[in-house]
Point group: C2
Chain length 419, copies 2
Amino acid sequence: MPKIDFRQIFNESFGMVRHLLRWIPLACYVGIAAGTASAILLASLTYATNLRESHIWLILLLAPMGWLMGLMYRHFGKSVEGGNNLILEQIHNPKDVIPFRMTPLILIGTFLTHVFGGSAGREGTAVQTGASLADQLTRPLRLSPQNRRILLMTGVSAGFGSVFGTPLAGGVFGMEVLAIGAIGYDAIAPCFLAAFVGDLVTRAWEPVIPGIRHTVYTVSEVPSLNVRTILYASIAGVLFGLVAMLFARTTHAIASTMRRLIHRTELRPVVGGLLVTVTVFGIGYAHTSKYLGLGIPTIVAAFHTHLPFYDFAAKLVLTAVTLGTGFKGGEVTPLFFIGATMGNALSSIIPLPSSLLAGMGFVAVFAGAANTPLASTLMAMELFGAEAGAYAAIACILSYLFSGHNGIYHAQRVQSSKY
Amino acid sequence: MPKIDFRQIFNESFGMVRHLLRWIPLACYVGIAAGTASAILLASLTYATNLRESHIWLILLLAPMGWLMGLMYRHFGKSVEGGNNLILEQIHNPKDVIPFRMTPLILIGTFLTHVFGGSAGREGTAVQTGASLADQLTRPLRLSPQNRRILLMTGVSAGFGSVFGTPLAGGVFGMEVLAIGAIGYDAIAPCFLAAFVGDLVTRAWEPVIPGIRHTVYTVSEVPSLNVRTILYASIAGVLFGLVAMLFARTTHAIASTMRRLIHRTELRPVVGGLLVTVTVFGIGYAHTSKYLGLGIPTIVAAFHTHLPFYDFAAKLVLTAVTLGTGFKGGEVTPLFFIGATMGNALSSIIPLPSSLLAGMGFVAVFAGAANTPLASTLMAMELFGAEAGAYAAIACILSYLFSGHNGIYHAQRVQSSKY
């Protein structure tokens, strides 16, 4: 009779059960903490956006507010200034626990940036709150460096999954963002569990805290794939990737110029704030207001109306100035804006439906800038439906390939070259 | 002014264009070759199934046919007997080009297995035709070992994506199946391109060759996620994983027992053929016929009717006997059968919709046995829609975690332990 080693089967299962008994409570804690932080973040951004739009003069205060925020980070936030890069560095090379203060500082910084009209996003904030709240367990539980690494990855996944309402993309993002060109599965269960719990928790806060609801984007038409449409999607993907590279490099170039020219960190956002304010009121608030803050209404519009072709460029510049000079917030929602409006613009030269191109751009510019093609493809399927998945995958992969090796996170390692 | 190094941007883009100029024609060739082979395979299996079902006595010839097939492989197929494992070995450690004869031999072997009533699948066949047809380019183009490795991966992706009509799952499968616990992106563009082209080519043959059409499976109800449903999905996932492990181990145990007891390779399928024939007619054709061949009608039924709880076990045993004794074909469609019927059976004890459990089992038992949780999740979204994606991901990841470190492909490397 054929023999099956049931003892080995038992041992393997037992090892896995032990692994999960450790990680299920930890991932649930991380999910609850990160999901709650994301709920607070989303609600605060809704409030900030409403406040700014009903008191336009607030934008005049962007420069002085930048100064205050710079002072705040200079006095209390030196240890957490690195933001997302600090988290990636700690995952690669675990040393110091990320201070709890990262959470309130980044929440306040992001809120101020959005109230006073900076152009920024939220995933950076969610990832930072998720990871810093997760890391608070490291000392009490005396986690080994290896386990701390997994814990930080769960924080990234939970933050990302909960702030966008896309747990599958969140689960993969936490594993994929660490390095270019490779992904390891050792944290797969904790990352996904934390992302699912985080998403549920953020949604559970919806009836309690006003202003949390996730936006719905609709790709209204997906043609069937053929050689022609694959080719069109590929061309769009290459262009999305080049713009992703341009965004990352412009932001880095502004940041390094600031570092070179302005020694006092708290004065850098003053310059950025002045540039944004002068641009907004110089050109006219009516024409520029849509580039401030998250810009959700314009992202939604990109899926169903024709927008000016230069929208993506304007958003790119204003976001690079805002973030490059030290304001707080994420890159990803601006990347969604840049991608969706660029897809909308491309629909006049690429014969694919404009809502599909907007959806492809939405995820693909992000895929190229963050070097996360699989998380972005999953995000497209979660947000726009499975039918859009193939087009999104083509655009995300080509954008990833053409965005170069320096994405928005400079602490991301290059595990293997893209070509 | 901030400086952006446009020369470096140009260089990076140029490197990528050069990479793609090499791989676009190669991946297209692989896609066309593998897609055509998959079309022939699908049509031949439809023909084989119809033939067997209208001439039940053919099953009596399974043992002698096994002997003939064994002789055929002994005389002409020594170099390609390794099948899928041979391909994985060549990807890990590129040495000898895979002979072209792998393609006709595996197509004929699979056809004979299905005509005479063996229980087997088709992905193994598609992967082998894809990779061996791809590898024919290695010598004429004098590809380096590194490029040959990528070429073989494109063959795997194209074969898998085209035979199931799921290019996203195919693209990831070619990268994910090589090793447990890690995935590299160096072949991402060629793998996805070949999978897309392969899928298009198989579909393009549909009007020309009868019997190619892909089956549609319908998950009719997906409840919203909450703590309870996540828990249910997790329990199901663990059970799917244990059954995946049981399948892999039973098949390996039968194969190693055969190797120990029966020295002449061509006599092993005779034993398997006799076992299957005696079982089928001993219990009665009416009760057992659904376990023979691919078993597509039963897989479809698992999504909408209540099936006997033992269906999955019967299919597991018959497939392990068929493949473990040396008949040809794949493991994956039987794994879909085992998973879908097991999910159907679980619906009497797990309070989730039975069509959802069938869909989860369909992909999750495969995810556990092949150690490909991401490809399987994408497959679920491609086949059942994005709504089922979260449940499929939970089931696939837990199945992957609980299926141990010895999947159906023993040439798969363990890159990092699962726990």
